[in-house]
């Protein structure tokens, strides 16, 4: 297990280095970032001074070395719009996003696991078809549009929920629902598939033939064995919730990494985008390691090897 984790960590670090290469070359794609940072009517002297000041006149490899060194010390330069280090801007927004993702993923699992299991208990029944239809439907709704329509119906027309902000518990309802939308559909499908496989396995059928309660068998015994694919997809989707967070911030002005990134796009604040990609990359690597640990907890075979 330790060996496996260390391999995992090494490959993650390689991936992180790759993310940094992407971020670096993104920054250089436009030539010198001067075009992004200086006003349109900047003179040649201003561009040159800017390049010299920021080290853009040095060879690319030296620049990359400096960039990696700075990034490892968590220095992505100054945010243009916020007048504070870009890394601070990105990092200080993470707790809200992580909290949102955590709440949304917990609720998703609470909905998806019973739904998928009930569908798998009676395959091809009307109940199964209804649940499958529901899950495909939620996976097909454009989330940004869902958020807008919810604002229109619940906030504007019915006046039940606030349109934005984070003031009360009620203001969590629509953002969480928006972030949950696609994962609920996808994970219900995965639970259904995994449970179908497990329920058809010999040992489950054997226990059933001996007279164990079918439902109890499913939730107590089969679910544990179906857990691996569910954990995998839930982990993937939890990381993907950053996508949902970006949408949520664009519609509900929800604070978090999504808000920071969207603002950075509108303000042409490139340092913050770089820092944001890097911070999210690290968060997802940590999430992957967490998923591996849960994996080991769920399956003794992995623990031993």
């Amino acid at each position: 297990m330790l060996k496996f984790l260390s391999v995992r960590l090494t490959t993650s670090l390689v991936a992180l280095l790759g993310v940094m290469v992407i971020v670096f070359f993104l920054a250089r794609l436009t030539g010198s970032p001067a075009a992004l940072y200086l006003p349109v009517d900047a003179t040649d002297e201003m561009v040159e001074a800017f390049n010299r000041q920021n080290g853009f006149d040095q060879p690319l490899l030296v620049q990359f070395g400096n960039f990696v060194g700075d990034a490892l010390r968590f220095d992505f330069g100054q945010s243009l719009a916020q007048q504070r280090p870009a890394a601070v801007a990105a990092l200080s927004a993470m707790p809200q996003t992580v909290l949102l993702a955590f709440v949304a993923m917990s609720l998703t699992l609470l909905v998806a696991i019973p739904l998928g299991t009930f569908a798998a208990l009676k395959p091809n029944s009307p109940r199964d078809s209804a649940i499958t239809m529901f899950s495909l439907f939620t996976a097909s709704i454009p989330d940004f549009w869902f958020a807008l329509v919810c604002v229109l119906v619940f906030s504007v027309n019915l006046g039940l929920l606030p349109t934005s902000g984070q003031a009360s518990l009620l203001s969590w309802v629509l953002p969480v629902a928006t972030v949950m939308l696609h994962p609920v559909g996808v994970i219900t499908q995965v639970v259904r598939g995994a449970m179908l496989d497990t329920l058809n396995a010999g040992y489950v059928q054997n226990a059933r033939a001996r007279g164990y309660s079918w439902r109890r068998l499913a939730f107590r015994h089969a679910l544990r064995n179906a857990a691996l694919p569910i954990i995998t997809v839930a982990g993937d989707r939890a990381g993907g919730m950053v996508n949902g967070a970006v949408i949520v911030s664009a519609v509900f002005a929800w604070p978090g990494i999504g808000q920071v990134l969207v603002d950075a796009v509108y303000n042409r604040d490139f340092a913050v985008i770089q820092a944001g990609v890097f911070v999210v990359g690290i968060a997802i690597i940590l999430l992957n390691i967490l998923v591996d640990l849960i994996y080991a907890a769920a399956d003794p075979r992995i623990r031993i090897s």
Binding site: I22, I141, P142, V156, G239, V246, I302
Partner: protein
């Protein structure tokens, strides 16, 4: 006559297989409806868009926010008009072409490139495989929307850039599926036989492995069509996807958003169009997955890659 009979007899198994698949489709009303809806939408997008292009751009300020479901100004305005008095229906048709073009081109590009890399990676193995899989890990590490946001921020918004960025983000899906299947196929007897007969590696990949990987990739591609369409619309909504004069359904939702409380139809209808298309594609691919053989279903299971990785 006899020659004809012979010629007909040879491709029979394939014909029967496709016939059988079609027969199954005809017996499944939901899947059949989805297929018909998708075909109709594609036809409308391809044939209709050039026809209504001019009408879609016609501004008529007297018809600003003209409400839907009224034939007062002719069938062109049945879904209402937007802030500039343009027909919502005509905009939807023009947007459909862009949306389908982007989704189709992205899936085609990602599946062909992903499948090629995946087959080579799985067949060759060793250091090449390790490097390619780490590259795919990197893409997976950064959430697709974030990657697209950052890249499209630097590049100009255009159809080509959008397609390339989305295709790169979706590449790992095809790469993993085709690699997993190649790993398994590589050990099979018919591949060994080809090798024993002196076939070159390229020929083995093309003639022995590719035909068996393609059906799986097609099934995955169908599944991906819906999510790519949603992703593209999301990017356009955020303002880094497409911008006027290019217009897709996501752009329409984002334009309508400003007038959400005044003219709900400019937001609701484009979103409904995305929903209907994505739902049809999802229903169809769900049916394809269920009717395909169990081996394929197992190969496209997203869980299989990590379980593989977790095993020593």
């Amino acid at each position: 006559m006899a020659v004809l009979d012979n010629a007909a007899a040879v491709p029979a198994p394939r014909g029967r297989r496709i016939g059988g698949r079609l027969g199954l489709l005809l017996r499944s009303p939901l899947a059949l409806t989805s297929a018909i809806v998708l075909i109709l939408l594609v036809l409308v997008a391809l044939v209709g868009a050039p026809l209504v292009q001019d009408f879609a751009n016609t501004q008529n300020l007297r018809l600003r926010f003209f409400p839907p479901f009224s034939l007062e100004h002719g069938p062109g305005y049945i879904l209402g008009a937007d802030a500039l008095g343009r027909s919502v229906l005509a905009q939807l048709v023009v947007g459909a072409r862009t949306s389908f073009l982007v989704a189709g081109a992205t899936v085609a590009l990602a599946s062909v490139v992903g499948m090629s890399i995946g087959m080579v990676s799985g067949y060759v193995g060793g250091i090449v495989d390790a490097v390619l899989m780490r590259l795919s890990d990197i893409i997976v590490t950064v959430p697709s929307l974030l990657l697209a946001l950052a890249v499209l921020f630097v590049l100009e918004p255009s159809v080509v850039n959008l397609v390339v960025v989305l295709a790169i983000a979706r590449l790992p899906v095809y790469l993993r599926v085709s690699r997993a299947q190649t790993l398994e196929l590589r050990e099979r007897v018919f591949v060994e036989a080809s090798r024993a007969l002196g076939a070159r590696d390229g020929a083995i990949i093309w003639r022995d492995i590719r035909p068996l990987v393609v059906p799986t990739v097609v099934t995955v591609a169908m599944l991906e069509l819906a999510s790519v369409m949603l992703a593209a619309a999301g990017l356009s909504f955020l303002g880094v996807g497409l911008q006027r004069p290019d217009v897709d359904w996501g752009t329409l939702v984002s334009e309508g958003r400003e007038y959400l409380t005044r003219a709900w139809w400019t937001t609701v209808f484009p979103g409904t169009a995305i929903l209907i298309t994505a739902l049809s594609a999802n229903l169809l691919s769900n049916w394809m997955r269920a009717s395909a053989d169990p081996l394929q279903a197992a190969a496209m299971d997203p869980a299989s890659t990590r379980e593989e990785a977790a095993r020593p």
